[in-house]
């Protein structure tokens, strides 16, 4: 039977293709404009792991799972799947059922240029490609050791080299059931595995596109996502056109208060809501802000320089200054990240003296760092977990060290260094050579000196930093962690004994009780039992001080009044859910 496209869909596609050739504002289309602040590395899904690439890939491609737009804490939901995967009784095998009727974008790689229906073969092809060692996939760690036979397949691809043929090699744990279903068998029960299926690097790619474009797939993306990319411009304006065949719908469930904010008015509507997303590359803050103030951008993150001009802190809250309050909307949300000082426990001075580590914890003035150097754009952490994740201090209520010279002096005396006498100069490594890092170091130096402790900053570039923390070649390191997925485990693993150098546990902390609690909590569902284990781990960390906790960054942004349905989602781009009030936009910015 001939595959016939319904007339309205074909017409819409035709109109949108024509629209791609014209400047979007010239037509009566709903256009959302947002400036990219950096260049993307690659639009070939497995070849990227940077936020600029991710933002675009997540609009053009789809993944098996995605993060719910409105619900918090972040939660996975089906994207290319009909429903969440079913887990076998032994908790080892997931069975996936694909959503019916999902089509790839029309592209020259398909016969007749017509996108075909996506099948289980495409998913399996994409997973095999993700595991190919020759693609240098940065996010491989997401599946490393998780799927039965996948690591062996990866080793075989490395052995075969970039030109070798591994297409006939079977992967024990990945099985096709029929055209729309397949299963994945894990090496051990691991609910965290599902997060890897929401990563843009595991997006589903058609084999035809890889065969046709090969290394140049980045310049010719072909996905099933809400938008198509008319032309890939690394430096100019990326113009994403609405995919009229997109399968997604606006969420019907939100977090508490979302309905009152009008975020559920479009519940159930077909996505995307705008016709075009325009993304010019503007790397400097001034032109970005000037364009926003002129109404040429619809929303934008707020950089440090403009932050101090436009935002006022009111207690713990932030608001736009009166000059901007009537004209724009502001938002802010905690990032999925933390900062901390890693104390190297292999260092003879720090490793053998707990009181000294506790004293140092009282001298790291994180609040001053936030207030003075970051304009207040951060929240001091009381546990290692960022605030918006389940298991953060909001659940565990953990306590931390505050800047307190008197307490530090007392502990220093107990540690054998009254008023810092006899204590060698401590070396703190910073993973940047910027002015900001130097200012930060100056602040710490002054604070430590108040208790008689001398520190010597050492500024290194990022690769050198990595080399040194991985070989435990440092005394104290100013570190940070950007979450790979929104789960507390991703942060507690930073101190798991088996993750010592060269792993992410830079301190080399090795505590049997901590490891036991970590292992018990690792794959546990969120709930009181997990929180109890987290509390136990927090207590151990507070007592042993392998790290001094820093802060959770706050991400700020500004929007025009005509932007609708916006809620910052750090795990998935918001563009397909957002809408523009065209009438209000025509009126311009209120003066």
């Amino acid at each position: 039977m001939l595959n016939r496209t319904p007339l309205p869909t074909a017409l819409a596609a035709l109109l949108l293709s024509a629209a791609a050739l014209l400047p979007a504002q010239a037509q009566d289309l709903k256009v959302l404009t947002y400036a990219r602040t950096g260049q993307f590395e690659s639009l070939d899904p497995p070849r990227q792991f940077d936020s600029e690439s991710h933002d675009v890939i997540a609009m053009v491609y789809s993944t098996l799972l995605r993060y719910a737009y409105l619900e918090r804490p972040y939660k996975l939901e089906p994207d290319l799947l009909e429903r969440m995967p079913e887990l076998s009784a032994d908790k080892l095998t997931y069975t996936f059922k694909l959503r019916k009727g999902v089509r790839f974008h029309d592209n020259a790689c398909f016969p007749g240029g017509k996108g075909r229906e996506m099948t289980a073969d495409d998913v399996i092809f994409s997973l095999r490609r993700f595991a190919d060692a020759n693609l240098n996939v940065k996010s491989w760690f997401l599946m490393d050791g998780a799927v039965l036979g996948l690591d062996a397949f990866r080793a075989a691809t490395a052995k075969a080299g970039p030109k070798g043929d591994t297409s006939k090699l079977a992967i024990e744990g990945i099985k096709k059931i029929d055209a729309s279903s397949f299963s994945i068998k894990l090496t051990k029960p691991n609910p965290l595995f599902l997060f890897s299926l929401a990563s843009s690097s595991t997006s589903v790619v058609p084999p035809e596109a890889v065969a046709k474009y090969g290394d140049q797939l980045s310049a010719n993306p072909v996905g099933t996502g809400p938008f198509t990319l008319a032309k890939v411009e690394r430096k100019g304006v990326l113009r994403l056109m609405k995919n009229p065949n997109y399968h997604g719908r606006y969420p019907t469930v939100g977090a508490a208060g979302d309905a009152d904010k009008g975020l559920l008015k479009d519940a159930g509507k077909k996505l995307p809501l705008v016709d075009v997303v325009e993304m010019p590359l503007i790397e400097e803050a001034q032109p970005r802000m000037l364009k926003l103030l002129k109404g040429e951008l619809d929303w934008q993150g707020l950089d440090r320089a403009n932050f101090s001009k436009m935002v006022a802190k009111k207690g713990d809250d932030f608001a736009l200054t009166p000059e901007f309050a009537a004209r724009f909307k502001i938002y802010y949300t905690p990032g999925i990240d933390n900062t901390y000082w890693a104390l190297n426990l292999k260092d003879p001075l720090l490793g053998g003296n707990k009181k000294l580590r506790q004293a140092l914890a009282h001298l790291v003035d994180t609040q001053a760092q936030i207030d003075v150097l970051s304009n207040g754009r951060g929240r001091k952490l009381k546990s290692i977990v960022p605030l918006d994740l389940p298991g953060s201090e909001r659940d565990t209520g953990a306590a931390t060290y505050d800047y307190d010279v008197a307490k530090a002096k007392k502990l220093l005396a107990e540690a054998g260094y009254p008023d810092g006498k006899g204590l060698p100069v401590l070396e703190v490594m910073f993973s940047a050579t910027t002015a900001a890092a130097r200012t930060s170091a100056d602040l710490y130096k002054a604070r430590f000196a108040a208790a008689g402790v001398q520190i010597k900053p050492d500024f290194v570039d990022f690769p050198t930093y990595l080399k040194r923390v991985e070989s435990a070649n440092f005394q104290i390191s100013d570190s940070a962690w950007q979450g790979d997925y929104p789960d507390a485990e991703n942060f507690y693993q930073l101190l798991y004994g088996k993750n010592g150098p060269p792993g992410p546990n830079h301190s080399g902390f090795n505590n049997a009780a901590y490891d036991k609690a970590y292992e018990a909590s690792r794959y546990m569902a969120n709930g009181p039992e997990r929180v109890a284990l987290f509390k136990q781990m927090n207590e151990i960390l507070r007592d042993e001080v392998p790290v001094v906790l820093g802060y959770n960054t706050l991400r700020f942004g500004i929007q025009q009044n005509w932007v609708r349905n916006f809620k910052r989602n750090l795990m998935a781009p918001e563009f397909m859910y957002m809408d523009v009030d065209v009438a209000l936009k025509k009126k311009g910015i209120p003066q």
């Binding site: 060692a133 790397e283 000037l290």
Partner: protein, 310 residues
Amino acid sequence: MTAYVLRRLLLTVPTVLGVALLTFLLFNAFGPDPVRVALGQHATPAAIANLRQQWGLDQSLALQFLDFLRQIVTFDYGKSFVTGEDLATQLKAGALVSLSVTAPPFIVGGIVNVALALVIARWREGLLDKTSRALFIAGMSISGLVYVLVLQYVLAFMLGWFPINGYVSGPGAVAYLALPWIILLVISMGPDIRLYRTLFLDEANADYVRTARSKGASEGRVLMRHVLPNAWIPIITNNVTSLPFLILGSFLMERFFSIPGIGSLTIDALGRGDLPILKAVTVLSAIALVLFNLLSDLLYAWADPRVRLV
């Protein structure tokens, strides 16, 4: 003349070789490890070894250097480590865009600045000279970044005379390039006019000029017929040695006005440890500098026969 040209051309070979060796050592032996930059902090030792092999970084430094020399000779710099895109294509496209940013203000500036310097020299120590001196010295002490920030804010944002930023290829680019051109022109005025004025005045006090004046030649004729032709050599040097920088683009303009030239390509590559781009741009700009210096020497020889005898 041919012997002179050949001698100068032969001298460029060891210079370029020296530059290539320095560039290579700077990035390959002492620079940060590009494999670690590319793979990030989740990299496994196997993945690091695999990529090192793919990029040829597992070979001895001598072999890598030979390969680098081959790239210089064949103009085949391979692909960017980060984006996987062909470098020769990127460099060619970027160089043309950079030229479109820097060449027009260079040419217009050359004419306008020489003319203004002549006018100022004509009425030296007059009101115009004194006022312009104060203005230019003040202007020269302000960073180029300030000009960009202020003129973009005033002319594009407040007055709306130009787009705030952006770029399109083709004739439409003029609308976007006009403001960067004006800024580059304004930035060049202070140092260029001050230099040319000094050159003209040096010549204006020479014996042959005094003779011309004593013969009753008008001040205008003295400047145009005697001073200007004799001041050409340092003006040529100043302009010809600037030519490679036209191709390298103006990083500030490209960055603030989102223009996809070669300047921003280099800065991006620095941030991402993209070794092939960095090495290509460094060595190509060195070669351009050597060649344009050669051109400037040839122009001297043409303008002043005494140079050929040295």
